[in-house]
Symmetry: C2
Subunit: 325 residues, 2 copies
Amino acid sequence: MADRKYWLGFDLGGTKMLAQVYDEKWKIIGRERKRTKPGSGADNGLDRVVETTQKAIEEAGITCSELRGIGIGCPGPVDMDKGILLQPPNLGWDTVNVKERLEKTFTCPVAVLNDVDAGTYAEYRQGAAVDARCVLAVFCGTGIGGGCVYQGEILRGAGSSCVEIGHVQVMSNGPRCGCGQRGCLESVASRLAIASQCARAAYHGDAPYLLEKTGTDLANIRSGALASAVKEGDKGVKDVIREAARYIGIAIAGVVNVMSPDVVILGGGMVEAMPDLFLDRVSASATKRAMPAFRDKFKVRLSKLGDEAGVLGAALWAEHVLGVQ
Amino acid sequence: MADRKYWLGFDLGGTKMLAQVYDEKWKIIGRERKRTKPGSGADNGLDRVVETTQKAIEEAGITCSELRGIGIGCPGPVDMDKGILLQPPNLGWDTVNVKERLEKTFTCPVAVLNDVDAGTYAEYRQGAAVDARCVLAVFCGTGIGGGCVYQGEILRGAGSSCVEIGHVQVMSNGPRCGCGQRGCLESVASRLAIASQCARAAYHGDAPYLLEKTGTDLANIRSGALASAVKEGDKGVKDVIREAARYIGIAIAGVVNVMSPDVVILGGGMVEAMPDLFLDRVSASATKRAMPAFRDKFKVRLSKLGDEAGVLGAALWAEHVLGVQ
């Protein structure tokens, strides 16, 4: 048997995919990135995953016989035991056995997990919540995802990953959510929800900077533009974001009252663009609404690993579940 | 060393306390019940716990040297590792080390846990959710408590027990809750919340049976009277209960979306008085609001053990954590 000492992490996203090879000290020694091209089917998609993986291995100057294993984080529900990705909505793929395909190609064990779980696990191992007993992570971007590491293990649902904090109700009879319900956190505090309210504010004249910079088309109102608008004094934008952060805090308080985590991590594109604004407001709102017994027991912190969390977490998780085999 | 083969379960409630001795097949061989007399302090209270335990041991015809261990479920937050009961509001006690006191008196190991956790654990071991991977239990009475057994272990919070589902928000700007927040599940669906709405219905003439039977004093409107009123056709009462059950389902759906349990158990005095009404309505409401991926993965079931769950669960938990020592 070859000297297997490297781990490969893979972050399969809705728009890009990223493979990184890590040495024994978790230093990146090889790396490849491709666009995902969703919508072209699971088989074509997995072909691109294989190519990207191969390129990263080549770039690292190793062969796959030197890999101890691969961890791959996927954007959708995952059957972790079987390594199956279950109809990921962002990719438009059918259910597909990712583990089987990659193990056959690379002749090393493969661990498949949800991408948000991977990011949460990375923060638990090397980020903002190292060794915490119970970590809840909330990632705010186009949607809002959540993950939990409880006593060193990813919290698992009945059939797949869980912690869908984006679909906890925070407003009775609130706006219609993509999931079909009303008033889900995602329907009031995702980037899309924020952008739509800011577009309205711009239209009404409450966000002159944003209006000039992006116009009122939601597709152009990205987190960077929102952050600039806040900085430039667009009151309408700031108010919308503060209100969104308040709702994120309410949803977190609901989970805190049920699970009483030690650390709550905030990450994702929206938070990275305006870290202090989110941290302050979310933290204040969550603390205010959490039960007194749990209130002093948790800390809200910013993600430390940012974009690296997903790919690193996938590799670390592979080590965790495959390392002793 | 004596032949230690019996377990003792203890259910310390706000109004009564109950000790039961179990043989190796979990048959009850001794039993004692006392009123709790809360408000007379932790020391006096623990004296009564000791007396009750002694009586149950005597009634079983054994000595404490034959006990393998004692499990005691307590109405409040508990530090399970240290065996400390933390300022239980229902008893008006200061923080007290229950484990130390009982171990000294009975010279056997003692496990201390929250009473709702004990009930949940009993349902997991011998009730309506035997061997389920993840069980969420919701007990609806004067308040609303929750517990979770995840992969065979009680889900633990940062400092104590958790799963305070009664304090998950289900109504934005809803009624003021005892915890200081607004719109908590307990503020709209506990027996007290239901009774106050039914008293109003009775006053307005929508609940003639209830009005005649109990009048409009909340203290008299117990679950039995509410069940009779529903049976006798008090539309006002039925509507209030259906609405409360709908909110219980909404809170459950929120937890389902975060934890994706396999089984959700409904218990407590209100549910026991009107099991079918609660089961149907809660189940429909929770299913409707849960995310599609989780919707077919959980079942709502009635508690099987009723009043016995707390005391049995305490003994079973003692066996689980002390049995291998």
